[in-house]
């Protein structure tokens, strides 16, 4: 669609705070309550793909995410950084309702995908998760062949029918499956390495290859948004570089939201960065260049320069 994401950093971006004209937070604890009231906002050009508003998450008595509101622009890379336990992964898992799978989790607030509320009764979770895919921290391919890993999603959704019954009924989609596997693997930059052993077990691949396979598996159901939870943290530098290149390419067609511990990585690959700090708050959200070069908040500056967190 538009190439606004490539250009928005040149355009004037305005960051405003509402609710308070107080000086921004410091590392001291007293101002923490004040920052809660702040509406950390980031203006960008182009459409917002996902919007979270006043998102609160409790795990039992633990208040993991406190009133987070942020908009995620489409076809770009949004990085979520922050120290461990700051709620960034929790936030990510709210975006495709994976927190539903945790019994003790309670989510309040609103998340909209293309303007449609996903926290409402009657939402089709299958459809939501097809549109908002997820890649996990450690590579988790199924103990099946590479081909089966890719075609698993489409098969289960009935987009591809193979097997005896389909053949008997004349609805064999083997060709479509072959195309789909090839397309997904090429998108994930894995095709050249595995095209001659698609029937091998995926667990025989290296860690980096497994993670790209997981990305390919995620792409196989044609998502619009791809959530990545520290996708490179378990990989060596070379595999990490490959994943980063891949993320960069994916952002041309998909909206990518990535959680990372690695600030250099966030600086390298993301268009905009959101900084979560201890206590489950979103402290600052803006252009990646601005966040890393000229953060407005002292806490964020401390965190980025390594004094905190």
């Amino acid at each position: 669609m538009s190439n606004s994401q490539r250009t928005h950093s040149q355009s004037q971006t305005r960051t405003r705070t509402t609710g308070s004209d107080q000086p921004l937070e410091t590392t001291s604890g007293e101002t923490v309550e004040e920052t809660r009231a702040e509406w950390v906002e980031y203006d960008f050009q182009g459409e917002a793909k996902m919007v979270a508003e006043d998102l609160d998450v409790h795990y039992g008595d633990d208040h993991a995410l406190k009133g987070v509101s942020m908009e995620i622009p489409e076809k770009s890379v949004t990085a979520l950084i922050g120290p461990s336990g700051c709620g960034k992964s929790t936030y990510l898992r709210c975006l495709n309702r994976m927190n539903d799978r945790i019994n003790a989790a309670r989510v309040d607030g609103s998340v909209r995908l293309d303007g449609k509320e996903i926290y409402q009764d009657g939402i089709n979770l299958v459809e939501l998760r097809k549109r908002v895919g997820m890649v996990f921290q450690s590579p988790n391919p199924f103990p099946k062949s590479i081909r089966d890993n890719i075609s698993y999603g489409p098969r289960k959704h009935g987009d591809i029918e193979t097997g005896l019954l389909a053949r008997l009924l004349g609805r064999d989609d083997s060709d479509a499956e072959r195309e789909l596997v090839e397309r997904a693997l090429k998108q994930a930059a894995l095709w050249d390495e595995v095209h001659d052993r698609l029937d091998d077990n995926a667990l025989g691949l290296s860690g980096g290859q497994q993670q790209r396979l997981c990305i390919a598996r995620c792409l196989s159901v044609d998502p619009e948004v791809i959530l990545m939870d520290e996708p490179a943290s378990a990989l060596d530098p070379i595999a990490t570089a490959k994943i980063e290149d891949l993320i960069h390419d994916l952002a041309k067609e998909y909206t990518v939201v990535i959680v990372t511990h690695n600030m250099q990585q966030a600086a390298r690959i993301s268009d905009q960065t959101a900084v979560f700090l201890t206590g489950g708050q979103l402290v600052e959200y803006g252009d990646t260049d601005q966040i890393f070069e000229n953060p407005r908040s002292q806490r964020v500056e401390d965190y980025i320069s390594g004094k905190f967190g």
């Binding site: 299958v126 103990p143 099946k144 698993y152 959704h157 077990n201």
Partner: protein, 537 residues
């Protein structure tokens, strides 16, 4: 000094000392094997081995082992052998040495010296205490060798001098007229002494110290593992040797000698014992009906229990929330698994039998054994599913795949090897069960060949609901464990034209063993196949 050599990184070359210590360990292994063989009467105590009486030979070997161990320890203490001993052999070794000396002290004082109970107790405490002190106080090289070596030498001398010979008997004088015979005592004592000797020799081989203790522990656990394989092997060999003649009675090999199978194809082998039933005019009687009965019994129980057990496991792991209900199910399952099989049999007898035509039937037996199999299948399936990583479930859910499809396509395949393991264990237990069959299924002991149950061919269509009938399932039939039990305990049917009743019994036992082990082999094959599918497709 001990500390001076500890920093040495590179060991010297293999020396004569190493060879001696290694040979000592080997000698204890030989003694161990001899003792096991004597225990199972593979070696007769009254006969001779290589011209020597067995007991004397064992005694001589024990003395040699004991002296070698002592020489090594004392040599180390005097500095002839380079070792790295600790300052003491430690508490465990001390107790280990004290216990056999305690027994010997008590026995000698009360029986040989005739000092009675009090004297025996005093002798036990004195001798055991001496052994404890002799182990704990000196440096490790002496402490861990001399008391044990002396023990070996003492026991060896007792055997060698004939104080305890093949005809020795200790009448305990109890009302039950229990007595300890040489046939039991000699192998058992040799076994223990071989273990102790191997332990001490292995410590010496490792030059004492930490490395020596490691070697000692290694030899002990290795011999334990070896003895398990040994016991299994001896058991199977025992049954095979005794059962084979009966099994092979009347065997013929050649074209067209066997019975017809699959229409008109004639097997080139005739093995009457497994191919015949019992008939008045048979040359050789056989147990075919019992074999077929056992196989159908197991197949029926597995078909009944596996879907039910796996289904319940899926519910418990994937759907039910952890809470009181799942805990209750868990307790109930474990309780069911611990329930004695005769109780299951009674249940089948009182509940199932009246509902299936009021007579013992194959179906009642299948269901009873199925109930027995159910808890184990449930427990192991549950464990297997719990061990499937949650990452798979997350990955599947993140693709928008529903829970049931995730379970079917990801969780179950990954858990299958574990499920199969459970079924293998369960089948191993139920295939040999006698008590439940006795009450629910078994008819005669010597079943005529014509009554071999034919479940597949027994299905017939009927004109009224339920439209299917299978009288074969409602027939009483025999199974191998029950047949064996009846043959041995009651001698049932021995009048029926069997030339060698004992051989017939052993052959039945052999066939039962083969059938159960075959199920085991099938299970292992299936598990291997599913594991391969998971790892390298």
């Amino acid at each position: 000094m001990a500390g001076a050599t500890r920093s040495r990184l590179v060991e010297g070359e293999t020396t004569a000392t190493d060879a001696v210590a290694g040979a000592t360990v080997g000698l204890s292994a030989v003694l161990f094997v001899l003792a096991v063989a004597a225990m199972f009467e593979r070696v007769s105590l009254t006969e001779t081995i290589a011209g020597l009486p067995t007991v004397a030979l064992l005694g001589g070997l024990l003395i040699a082992l004991g002296v070698a161990v002592i020489v090594f320890g004392v040599g180390s203490r005097l500095g002839y052998v380079e070792t790295e001993p600790d300052s003491s052999a430690g508490l465990i070794a001390s107790f280990g040495a004290a216990v056999p000396w305690l027994v010997i002290g008590g026995g000698v004082a009360s029986e040989t010296l005739g000092l009675g109970v009090t004297g025996g107790a005093a002798g036990a405490v004195v001798v055991g205490g001496l052994a404890f002190v002799a182990t704990a106080v000196p440096r490790e090289d002496v402490g861990s060798t001399v008391p044990l070596g002396a023990l070996l030498a003492f026991v060896g001398a007792v055997f060698l001098t004939g104080t305890i010979g093949p005809a020795w008997l200790w009448d305990l004088g109890w009302e039950q007229q229990a007595s300890i015979t040489a046939e039991f005592l000699v192998p058992a004592a040799t076994l223990f002494c071989a273990l102790y000797g191997g332990w001490a020799a292995a410590k010496a081989y490792g030059r004492f110290g930490a490395r020596g203790r490691h070697m000692g522990a290694y030899v002990l656990v290795y011999l334990n593992a070896l003895s398990i394989i040994g016991f299994l092997f001896v058991l199977i060999a025992f049954v095979v040797v005794r059962g084979l003649p009966g099994l092979l009675t009347g065997v013929q090999v050649g074209a067209g000698v066997g019975p017809q199978v699959f229409g008109s194809f004639e097997l080139p082998v005739s093995l009457p014992f497994v191919m015949n039933g019992v008939a008045l005019l048979n040359d050789f009687q056989g147990v075919l009906p019992a074999i077929v009965g056992t196989i159908w019994l197991v197949v029926g129980a597995v078909l009944f229990a596996v879907p039910l057990g796996v289904g319940a496991a899926i519910f418990l792991t994937e759907y039910a929330e952890r809470g009181r209900f799942t805990q209750a199910v868990e307790v109930a399952t474990n309780g069911l698994w611990s329930t004695p099989s005769i109780v299951f049999g009674l249940f089948g007898f009182a509940f199932l039998v009246p509902r299936f035509g009021n007579r013992k039937s194959l179906l009642a037996g299948m269901l009873t054994l199925g109930f027995m199999l159910l808890p184990l299948v449930l427990i192991t399936s549950r464990e297997a599913m719990l061990s499937v990583p949650d990452e798979y479930r997350d990955a599947s859910a993140a693709l928008g795949v529903s829970k049931w499809q995730t379970v079917r396509s990801v969780v179950l395949p990954a858990a299958l090897p574990g499920v199969v393991t459970g079924v293998i264990l369960g089948v191993g237990r139920i295939a040999g069960e006698t008590a439940p069959i006795l009450l629910t299924m078994a008819g005669g002991t010597f079943v005529p060949g014509a009554q071999t149950v034919d479940v597949v061919g027994g299905f017939e269509f009927t004109g009224s609901p339920p439209f299917v009938a299978n009288p074969e399932l409602l027939q009483a039939t025999s199974a191998l464990p029950y047949q064996l039990y009846a043959l041995i305990s009651a001698g049932v049917g021995l009048g029926s034209n069997v030339s060698d009743p004992t051989g017939f019994r052993w052959a039945t036992a052999l066939v039962l063993l083969v059938v159960v082990l075959s199920f085991y082999a099938i299970g292992i094959g299936a598990r291997y196949y599913f594991r391969r599918q998971l790892r390298h497709e």
